[in-house]
């Protein structure tokens, strides 16, 4: 027995000349998602009138397929379908068979007729099938709020019938929006921020700054797990681990204590930008949310951002902490982030961090540092993991 899935994408249908690029990437991503979940052999995929049609010629588990497809950005929804010839009787049989195992009181039939040569209009089909279901199954038609909707799509050579439509992850296919260097801390926010970038079609490389030996290796292991968790949306990410303790020492030993956090972040930005340019990433991404902590004021964000000319994306800017946590639970990063770890040993934390840093003050404080040499040193010591 073979299984067929129809996968719908919406936005990429609007992309004009680039559409084929998006479609190719989408099909590629669907295959990778299936492969990553152990689906073997992979299905035959083809584009059919703004849908991806996936035909599994070997028996395959629908659970596995549906789990895989729900992680693929770019899909609005998908469904396992019954494929029949463009024949009204055959469509009727498929419709009854589709609805038969489901429990419901009211229903609707919604037909889309992409093939205008088909002898019946969409409405004809709706009426005909509706009558058949009422007669055979003794159910009520309800067009405004049905318990269940049976979809019929009439294409050039076949028709597809399905009643169990599964919502997709939305967004755009990963790999169609360019590459981002995402700062990953081990906390709740940054993985969620990266998720939003992936959702909009970006690929992410992850960069993590650690204070080893002041902190133990646990934070690095945690970040690796977070990156792996996010990797199911993109499959081949890189994680860059930057030893940051020496730079923190330099800052702590040479600059006023209230400016420490802002200075750390400026160095993180410098290093992230340098790596981004080398690896052809076009933006940086952080998990900052406006006003969440003292370092996340507009003044401090501005002072930090001043060291880079790449766009700094902050997708969480509009989210409250509880919304971020809810999203983290949904995407499976919460359970990893929640585990305790030494973030940066508090010996590096100031007693009273500045809330509204001024650029000239910060730049003056940095005169005590050999910025270029510090960045060079840390850059040389970056360790990269291929996930």
């Amino acid at each position: 027995m073979s299984l067929t899935y129809i996968c719908h994408y919406s936005e990429i249908g609007l992309k004009g000349k680039n559409r084929s690029v998006f479609e190719k990437q989408l099909m590629h991503n669907i295959k990778r998602a299936l492969r990553a979940n152990g689906c073997d052999p992979l299905p035959h995929l083809r584009i059919l009138d703004k849908r991806v049609l996936a035909s599994f010629h070997q028996p395959a588990q629908s659970d596995l397929i549906e789990k895989s497809l729900s992680d693929v950005f770019g899909l609005v929804h998908f469904a396992q379908v019954r494929q029949v010839d463009n024949d009204l009787e055959a469509i009727k049989e498929a419709c009854l068979a589709e609805l038969e195992p489901l429990s419901f009181d009211s229903f609707a039939i919604r037909t889309k007729r992409a093939n205008k040569r088909f002898a019946y209009t969409s409405n004809d089909v709706n009426v005909f099938l509706g009558a058949a279901v009422v007669e055979k199954m003794n159910k009520k038609v309800n067009l405004s709020a049905p318990d269940i909707t049976c979809f019929v799509e009439v294409l050039d050579h076949h028709s597809f019938v399905y009643a169990r439509k599964i919502p997709g992850a939305g967004g755009l296919p990963v790999g169609t929006s360019g590459k981002i260097m995402a700062l990953l801390s081990g906390g709740f926010d940054s993985p969620v921020a990266a998720y939003f970038a992936l959702k909009r079609g970006a690929t992410c490389e992850f960069i993590h700054f650690h204070s080893f030996p002041y902190t133990n290796k646990k934070s690095q292991e945690k970040v690796k797990e977070l990156a792996l968790q996010l990797n199911r949306y993109q499959f081949n990410a890189k994680l860059h681990l930057v030893p940051f303790a020496e730079t923190q020492e330099d800052i702590v030993l040479n600059c006023p204590d209230s400016l420490r956090v802002v200075l750390y972040r400026r160095f993180m930005m410098r290093l992230a930008e340098k790596l981004a340019r080398k690896n052809k990433a076009r933006a940086l991404l952080t998990g900052e949310s406006l006003g969440q902590v003292a370092s996340q004021t507009l003044a401090n964000m501005g002072v930090v951002e001043a060291v880079t000319s790449l766009p700094v994306l902050r997708p969480l800017v509009g989210l409250d902490k509880n919304e971020i946590i809810a999203k983290a639970r949904e995407i499976g990063t919460y359970d990893i982030s929640v585990r305790p770890h030494d973030d940066a040993c508090t010996r590096f934390m100031p007693k009273h961090p500045v809330i509204h840093a001024r650029l000239y003050e910060v730049e003056k404080a940095e005169q005590a540092l050999d910025i270029e040499a510090m960045v060079e040193r840390d850059f040389r010591n970056i360790e990269t993991l291929e996930l």
């Binding site: 702590v252 030993l253 600059c255 508090t346 010996r347």
Partner: protein, 382 residues
């Protein structure tokens, strides 16, 4: 920066080459489980008993009163938990002080959670306990008093003889953690009157992982480690002969060189305090400077973050430690300095400087020379 100057000998000492030689000889030529009957075992058992006799000589006790353990922490746990359990029928009250090492303080805390009553004696500005308080706190349920011989952060030495006398008048056992004092002070347990004493090798240029417990022959207790009945049933585990012999060799060296070495420490201590006293304002010298251990110098600099001082010194090649520990992400001020009533603004800027056998005059001079500038710089940043 290429120069590395180690001034953290109260934390752990480097291995003396002579100790290393003793251990290496054993590792090279001897093996065998000392509990066996064949000649390999007999050789090892011979080395073990030789070391035991040496320690009996140093401490003025019988060889059978020496129990070898794996660490001072183990010795202290053995005493507190073992005595508590064994003498529970007599009473459930234990007395310690606010200036104990965590291996005593935390173990007492554990016992407290398990139904024992623990009294913690206060300390004065120099870190001495109050003998009158001790006297008044002993009651008929008291089974053990454990007071540190010389404190590890400030070097203050307690009046052990007087403490022992007070304990024995009430029939209470007296244990002392002598980790810092052993070697540096001549210790005769019978003269001092202590019933139990902890000492370790890695503070006297011996190996890490070798320690002992002196236990007056009349005392029995439930062991911490159960097993093969080694060490007269007081500590099961195959004995680490090379480490034990190394420990004995290290103690033996101190018997020979104690006075000469202490004289050097005293000279350095005076030099450090005298020089810095005029140069660094708002500095406190902690502990009992006259009568305490001379190799532990505790200085507090008001308003200077000790973490920064240590980092800065490390960059200049100097290894010292601070009066606080950065554990699991939080810097906690030293409880010992708090017990002495040192203000928090000073405690946060505390350094413990502990010179050792292999330091040279020039190193101490260099340290004293650079420290004022470092303190000034760090104060500006803190």
């Amino acid at each position: 920066m290429n120069e590395k100057i180690y001034l953290d000998n109260a934390a752990t000492t480097p291995l003396d080459p002579r100790v290393r030689e003793t251990m290496f000889e054993i590792y090279k030529s001897h093996w065998g489980n000392p509990s066996g009957v064949h000649r390999f075992s007999k050789t090892m058992a011979g080395l073990l008993e030789e070391a035991r006799e040496q320690f009996a000589g140093f401490l003025g006790c019988k060889p059978g009163e020496i129990v070898f353990t794996g660490s001072a922490t183990e010795s202290n746990n053995t005493v507190l938990k073992g005595i508590a359990r064994t003498l529970q029928y007599k009473g459930n009250h234990i007395i310690i002080s606010r200036i104990e090492h965590p291996s005593v303080a935390k173990t007492a805390g554990f016992l407290q959670k398990n139904g024992f009553d623990v009294t913690t004696l206060k300390a004065d500005r120099q870190g001495h306990i109050d003998l009158q308080e001790l006297k008044s706190q002993i009651r008929k349920e008291t089974i053990l008093v454990s007071i540190i011989f010389a404190n590890n952060e400030i070097g203050t030495v307690q009046p052990l003889k007087e403490i022992a006398k007070i304990c024995h008048q009430s029939g209470v056992l007296f244990h002392t953690d002598a980790v810092q004092a052993f070697g540096k002070r001549k210790i005769k347990v019978k003269e001092l009157g202590v019933d139990l004493l902890t000492a370790t090798a890695h503070k006297i240029y011996g190996p890490v992982g070798s320690a002992l417990l002196y236990c007056n022959s009349g005392i029995n207790f439930e062991p911490l480690l159960h097993g093969g009945g080694q060490e007269d049933g007081k500590r099961a585990s195959t004995e680490n002969i090379a480490a034990i012999s190394g420990f004995a060799r290290a103690a033996d060296i101190y018997e020979q060189e104690r006075d000469e070495e202490n004289a050097r420490y005293e000279k350095w201590k005076k030099e450090i305090i005298r020089t810095l006293d005029g140069k660094i304002p708002d500095m406190l010298v902690n502990g009992d400077v006259q009568k305490g251990l001379h190799n532990i110098i505790s200085l507090s600099f008001k308003g200077a973050d000790s973490q920064l001082l240590m980092m800065q010194l490390d960059r200049m090649g100097f290894a010292v430690s601070s009066g606080s520990a950065c554990s699991s992400g939080s810097v906690k001020p030293s409880g010992i300095l708090q017990a002495c009533g040192i203000p928090d603004s000073f405690i946060r800027g505390t350094l413990r400087i502990s010179p050792g056998r292999f330091n040279k005059d020039e190193e101490i001079e260099k340290f004293v020379r650079i420290l004022p500038d470092i303190v000034e710089k760090v104060r500006k940043l803190s």
